[in-house]
C-alpha cells in the first residue's frame, strides 16, 4: 500500500493562556495539532500543566476560525481577497486621519499577540498614523501595577520569580485566586506551604488557597487601602519594620508613618469587616518573617483606587524590607500570556518600548531617528475606556482592533456597543469569530500562536518563544505580516521585515532591557529582563542592589470607598472574575471540548444568607440588575461568597457580567472598577 508521508513533530512552544508562561510541546501530526505535552525541562512549569495548558491545541482547528478576509457590503460581512481588505483598512484609517486628524484614530493592541506584533502595531500608530492612541487590555488588569510600581520602585513588573516563591517564609496572597487564574503558580504556593511556608490569604471570596491559609481575611470588596494601611499600622506599632532597609533604600518614610497612624485595627474593622485581632495576627506573621513575598492580582487593581491599592501593597514590602532578595518581593501576577510583553513593547498610550515616555524629548527623538520619521506626537494618547468614551462622543472616528474582544471584556458593554456603532470605520484582526466582529467594517483572519513565530513575555519577565507547528487555516496570516502589509499600503517605509526575528532585532536595538536577547539565546527556556547585553544571564530578582530611581519612595495613600456602594435599590456588591476552566471572553476556551465539558455555563454565586432572604434556591434562574444593565443567569448558592456579596465570571457573552459593571475609572491608571458595583437580584419567577 502507498504509505502516508511521515509528518510528525513535537514543537516546543509556550502556553497561550495565563501569564505563568508554561512550556508546552505541540504535537503536530500530518499538519494538524493532535495533542499537547508539557515540556519536561522547562524552568517554570517543569513538566506540569493545568487543564488549559493540556488543552492548548484544542481550539486551533475550530470551525469558528476566521479563514477569509471579510468586508462589509450593504450591511453584511462578505468574503473578499487580502488586497481588497487591506486597501479598505488603509483607506479607512487614512481618510479619518486626513479629515479628523491622527488622534481621531485608535488602536487596540493585544496581550494575546506576540511582542513583535505589538511593537509593529504601536509603530504603525505612532510613526505612520501619528497618534499615541494605542492601548490594550492591560488597561483592564494591571495598569495600576505598571503606574504604581513604576512610581515607587521605578519598574512596574513582578520583582521576583515564580520559582523564588519557594524561598519565602510567608506568602501573602491578596486579591488573587491563584489556583484558578495561575494554576501552576497556585500549586507552587501550595508546594511551599507543604514545606513550611505560611500563607496569609486576603480575599472577599473563599478560594482554593484559603483552605490552606494560616490566616484568611475576608474584607468587603474595595476596602483594600484600609486593611493594607492597617497591616502597616500594626507592624509599626509593634516595631516590626526593617529600620536598616528603610534608612538605606527608601525615602518618604516619616510621611508614610504619619499617614497610616489613623488606620488602627479597630478603625480598619469598621471599614473592611476584618476582625481587628485577625488583622493584628496577619501583620505579625508578615512583619516577623525574614523573607515574605506578596502575590497579588486583579482583586487589588480593578478598582477606582487600583493605583492606591498597588501603592499600599508596595509600602508594606518597603516597610519590612521585603525586596531585592530571594523569597520576597511584590509579585503582581499578569493574567495573559503576553500582557507583560504588550506593555514592554509600548502598546500603551504614554510610552514607547521599555517604558520610554512619549513626552520625554530625548526618547521621542531617539525613536524619530530610529524610525526615520519626524514629528512623533509628544502627547500621551487615549486609554481603552477613554477610547470608548471618545468614540461615543464622536472624537474618535476609526479603530483598528488586533486580537481583542471589547464587546465582552470591557465594562458597561451597552455603552461599548453604542461607541463601536458610532465609529466611521472599524477593522478587526482576530483568529476566531467573536462578539466585536458585528461592528467591524473589515475583518482580517489572523494566524494563531501555533501557526507563527514570535516572542511573548511572562509575568516573571521571562521572554519566551512561540514556534510554528502548523500552517494557518485558509488564508489566515500572522498579525505581524498583516500590520506590515497595512503599513506598506499606507505608504510607510520601515516595515520590510522578512520574519519576526528581524522585528525582534529592531526591538532589542531600541529597548535596553531586551538588548541582550536573541532568538538563539532565548532557546526553549527564555530569558528574564532586564538583559542588557549578550553576555548577561537575565534577572530573576529585581532591585538587589538599588532601584532604577535610586531609592524607593514610600507613597502614602488614603482609603476612598468604591465608586458605587450598595444602597436600598441595589443592595448587593457584585465582584467579577475568572474560573479555572475558562479564559477571559471564552473565544478559545469555549471552543476547547475538554474545557467545555467542565464548565460552559454562566452563573452568579449568592451566599446562603442572601439566598434565604431573597427566596432563591440553588440552580434557580435569577435576574441580576445594575444601573447599567440586566441579565438572566443561574444562581449558585454557596458560602464561597459572604453575605452582601455576589460573584460572576465574565467569560460568558450570553450573560455577560460586564453588562452590569461600572466604567468608573481609577484617576491615574484609568482602570475600571470591575471588582465592585451595586446590583440587585430577583428570582425570574417572582
Amino acid at each position: 500500500m502507498a504509505d502516508k508521508e511521515l509528518d510528525f513533530r513535537l514543537v516546543p512552544s509556550t502556553c497561550v493562556y495565563c501569564g505563568t508562561g508554561c512550556g508546552v510541546l505541540l504535537q503536530a501530526n500530518n499538519g494538524r495539532l493532535t495533542g499537547t505535552l508539557p515540556l519536561k525541562d522547562h524552568p517554570v512549569s517543569r513538566g506540569e500543566l493545568c487543564i488549559k495548558g493540556w488543552a492548548v491545541h484544542e481550539f486551533v482547528h475550530s470551525p469558528s476560525r476566521l479563514t477569509k478576509p471579510l468586508v462589509r457590503r450593504n450591511g453584511e460581512l462578505v468574503e473578499t481577497d487580502w488586497d481588497t481588505a487591506l486597501r479598505a483598512v488603509a483607506d479607512g484609517l487614512r481618510r479619518t486621519r486626513d479629515e479628523h486628524g491622527p488622534d481621531a484614530v485608535g488602536f487596540l493592541a493585544s496581550a494575546r499577540c506576540t511582542n513583535e506584533e505589538n511593537y509593529l502595531l504601536m509603530k504603525l500608530a505612532r510613526a505612520v498614523i501619528g497618534t499615541n492612541n494605542v492601548d490594550h487590555c492591560a488597561r483592564l488588569c494591571h495598569s495600576p501595577t505598571v503606574a504604581g510600581l513604576a512610581r515607587v520602585l521605578g519598574s512596574g513588573a513582578m520583582t521576583n520569580s515564580i520559582e523564588d516563591l519557594a524561598e519565602a517564609e510567608v506568602i501573602l496572597v491578596v486579591g488573587s485566586n491563584t489556583t484558578e487564574q495561575h494554576p501552576i503558580i497556585g500549586e507552587r504556593i501550595l508546594s511551599a506551604a507543604r514545606k513550611g511556608t505560611r500563607l496569609i490569604v486576603i480575599d472577599p471570596r473563599a478560594i482554593h488557597l484559603s483552605r490552606f491559609a494560616r490566616i484568611f481575611l475576608r474584607p468587603r470588596p474595595g476596602t483594600d487601602v484600609a486593611y493594607l494601611n492597617g497591616l502597616a499600622n500594626v507592624i509599626l506599632a509593634e516595631g516590626l519594620q526593617d529600620e536598616a532597609f528603610i534608612a538605606s533604600r527608601t525615602e518618604g518614610f516619616e510621611e508614610f508613618r504619619r499617614a497610616v497612624a489613623e488606620y488602627t485595627p479597630e478603625r480598619v474593622e469598621q471599614i473592611t469587616g476584618i476582625p481587628a485581632a485577625d488583622l493584628v495576627e496577619a501583620a505579625r506573621l508578615y512583619g516577623r518573617a525574614e523573607r515574605a513575598a506578596i502575590v497579588y492580582c486583579m482583586g487589588i487593581t480593578q478598582h477606582v483606587a487600583g493605583t492606591d491599592n498597588v501603592l499600599a501593597v508596595a509600602n508594606l514590602a518597603l516597610l519590612t524590607g521585603n525586596l531585592g532578595k530571594p523569597g520576597t518581593g511584590i509579585n503582581p501576577l499578569r493574567g495573559q500570556n503576553n500582557v507583560q510583553g504588550a506593555c514592554d513593547m509600548g502598546a500603551l498610550p504614554n510610552v514607547f518600548t521599555g517604558y520610554q515616555k512619549v513626552d520625554d524629548e530625548q526618547a521621542a527623538q531617539k525613536f524619530e531617528v530610529a524610525w526615520g520619521v519626524e514629528g512623533l506626537s509628544r502627547k500621551p494618547g487615549l486609554t481603552v475606556v477613554e477610547m470608548t468614551e471618545a468614540a461615543a462622543e464622536g472624537r474618535l472616528r476609526a479603530m483598528y482592533v488586533m486580537g481583542e474582544n471589547p464587546m465582552v471584556s470591557d465594562p458597561d458593554i451597552n455603552h461599548v456597543r453604542e461607541a463601536l456603532s458610532c465609529l466611521d470605520f472599524l477593522a478587526v484582526a482576530d483568529i476566531l469569530e467573536n462578539e466585536t466582529l458585528r461592528y467591524a467594517h473589515v475583518v482580517l483572519p489572523a494566524a494563531s500562536y501555533a501557526e507563527k513565530e514570535g516572542t511573548i513575555t511572562s509575568t516573571e519577565r521571562r521572554v519566551q518563544r512561540f514556534r510554528r507547528a502548523v500552517e494557518p487555516p485558509g488564508e489566515a496570516r500572522p498579525d505581524w505580516e498583516i500590520v506590515c502589509e497595512l503599513a506598506r499600503r499606507l505608504g510607510a517605509s520601515g516595515f520590510d521585515f522578512a520574519s519576526p526575528e528581524e522585528v525582534f532585532e529592531e526591538i532589542r536595538r531600541l529597548t535596553p532591557s531586551y538588548a541582550g536577547m536573541t532568538y538563539r539565546r532565548l532557546g526553549t527556556k527564555g530569558l528574564q529582563w532586564p538583559c542588557p547585553s549578550e553576555e548577561h544571564p537575565g534577572t530573576p530578582i529585581l532591585h538587589m542592589e538599588s532601584f532604577p530611581i535610586g531609592k524607593a519612595r514610600f507613597t502614602p495613600v488614603t482609603y476612598r470607598p468604591p465608586a458605587e456602594e450598595p444602597d436600598e435599590e441595589y443592595p448587593l456588591i457584585l465582584t467579577t472574575g475568572r474560573i479555572l476552566f475558562q479564559y477571559h471572553t471564552g473565544t478559545m476556551t469555549r471552543r476547547s471540548p475538554s474545557l467545555v465539558k467542565e464548565a460552559d455555563r454562566p452563573f452568579v454565586e449568592v451566599s446562603p444568607e442572601d439566598a434565604g432572604e431573597l427566596g432563591i434556591t440553588d440552580g434557580e434562574r435569577v435576574t441580576v440588575s445594575s444601573r447599567r444593565g440586566s441579565l438572566e443567569v443561574e444562581a449558585r448558592v454557596t458560602d464561597r461568597v459572604g453575605k452582601g456579596l455576589v460573584f460572576m465570571p465574565f467569560h460568558f457573552a450570553e450573560a455577560a457580567a460586564n453588562l452590569l459593571t461600572i466604567a468608573a475609572l481609577d484617576p491615574v491608571a484609568k482602570i475600571p472598577e470591575l471588582k465592585a458595583c451595586a446590583v440587585k437580584i430577583q428570582g425570574v419567577r417572582s
Binding site: K4, Q27, L37, D41, E48, C50, F212
Partner: protein
C-alpha cells in the same frame, strides 16, 4: 554513560533494516524532546540525546501506529517504555510486529531518582543494568494509620488537586475515547478540587492490572500527589491475587481481561483492599 556513536550506529541499523522512523529524544534548542528520525543519513542523528527527561514514548507510538498504518517504527526504550508497550499490545493498542525496541538501561542514579522496580528492558542494547530501587515510602506511611486518619491523609493530598488531568493525559496506559473521569454521572464537572474520593478512586481502579509503574503521573502532577504509590498498591494486590504484573510477560494474558463481569472484578478487588 551511553556511547553516542554506538547509539547512532544502532539507530542507523534499525532504519536500514526496515524501520521507517526511529523515535527518541533530540536536543531542540536546549530542551530534550521526542522526535522521529526518518533516515540513516538524517542530520537529526547528531541531535540525539539520552537521559535527562522521560516522555510517554509508548503513548506517542500508539498515535503513530494508528495514524500511519503501513509504517514500522523503532524506539529507544527504557524498562518502563517496554513494559508499557507490552501491556498496550495485550490491550490491542500496539501491534508488536510494527515496533522494534532498542533497549536502554537506566543508570543507577536514574533508577534511584525514579524509585524504579525494574530499570532496564528485557534486552539491553545500551548501558548497564542497574539494581532495582522500588520505593514504597508513602504507601507504608499511610498503611499503618488507623482508618479515619488514613482517610484524612489521602483527603489532604487530594485537596490540592486542580483537576489538570495530567495523570491521565501523560499515562501511556490511558487511551479510552470516553474517560470515566469526565462522566458527569461519576464525577461532578467543573469542581476543584474534584470530588473526593471518586475522581482519584476511579483512576486508581482503572490502573489495576494496567499501571506499569513508570511514574510519569507523579512527574506531571503539579499538586505533588503521590499517585504512583496508590497505583503501586493496586499492582501489589494484582500480584497477590493473580500473580500478575502488568508489562512483564508478553505471553501471559491480563487476568482482568479474562474475568467475567465488572461486578466480579469489584468483588475480588474490593475485599480487603487498603491503600
Amino acid at each position: 554513560m551511553v556511547d553516542a556513536e554506538e547509539l547512532k550506529a544502532l539507530i542507523r541499523k534499525k532504519l536500514e533494516e526496515g524501520a521507517d522512523a526511529f523515535l527518541c529524544l533530540v536536543d531542540e534548542e536546549g530542551s530534550l524532546v521526542p522526535a522521529l528520525v526518518t533516515g540513516a543519513d538524517s542530520p537529526d542523528l547528531e541531535r540525539i540525546r539520552v537521559g535527562g527527561v522521560r516522555y510517554p514514548l509508548a503513548k506517542i507510538l500508539v498515535e503513530l501506529l494508528r495514524e500511519y498504518p503501513g509504517r514500522r517504527f523503532a524506539v529507544l526504550a527504557r524498562g518502563c517504555d517496554e513494559r508499557a508497550l507490552v501491556e498496550l499490545a495485550k490491550l490491542e493498542q500496539v501491534d508488536p510486529d510494527r515496533v522494534e525496541l532498542v533497549g536502554l538501561a537506566c543508570t543507577e542514579e536514574e533508577a534511584r531518582a525514579c524509585g524504579c522496580p525494574k530499570p532496564y528492558p528485557t534486552r539491553v542494547d545500551l548501558g548497564e543494568r542497574a539494581e532495582p530501587a522500588p520505593e514504597r515510602e508513602v504507601i507504608e506511611e499511610a498503611e499503618f494509620l488507623p482508618d479515619p486518619e488514613r482517610l484524612r491523609f489521602w483527603e489532604e493530598h487530594f485537596s490540592r488537586c486542580i483537576k489538570c488531568y495530567g495523570c491521565r493525559n501523560v499515562c501511556p496506559m490511558c487511551f479510552c475515547e470516553d474517560c470515566a473521569l469526565e462522566n458527569p454521572q461519576l464525577v461532578e464537572p467543573g469542581v476543584v478540587p474534584p470530588e473526593f474520593p471518586s475522581f482519584h478512586l476511579i483512576r486508581a481502579l482503572d490502573m489495576a492490572g494496567r499501571c506499569v509503574d513508570c511514574g510519569l503521573c507523579d512527574e506531571a502532577c503539579p499538586a505533588d500527589i503521590p499517585l504512583r504509590s496508590i497505583y503501586r498498591r493496586m499492582q501489589e494486590v494484582m500480584e497477590e491475587r493473580f500473580g500478575y504484573r502488568p508489562g512483564e510477560d508478553p505471553e501471559r494474558r491480563n487476568p482482568l481481561s479474562e474475568l467475567g463481569t465488572e461486578a466480579e472484578i469489584k468483588k475480588i478487588m474490593g475485599s480487603g483492599l487498603e491503600i
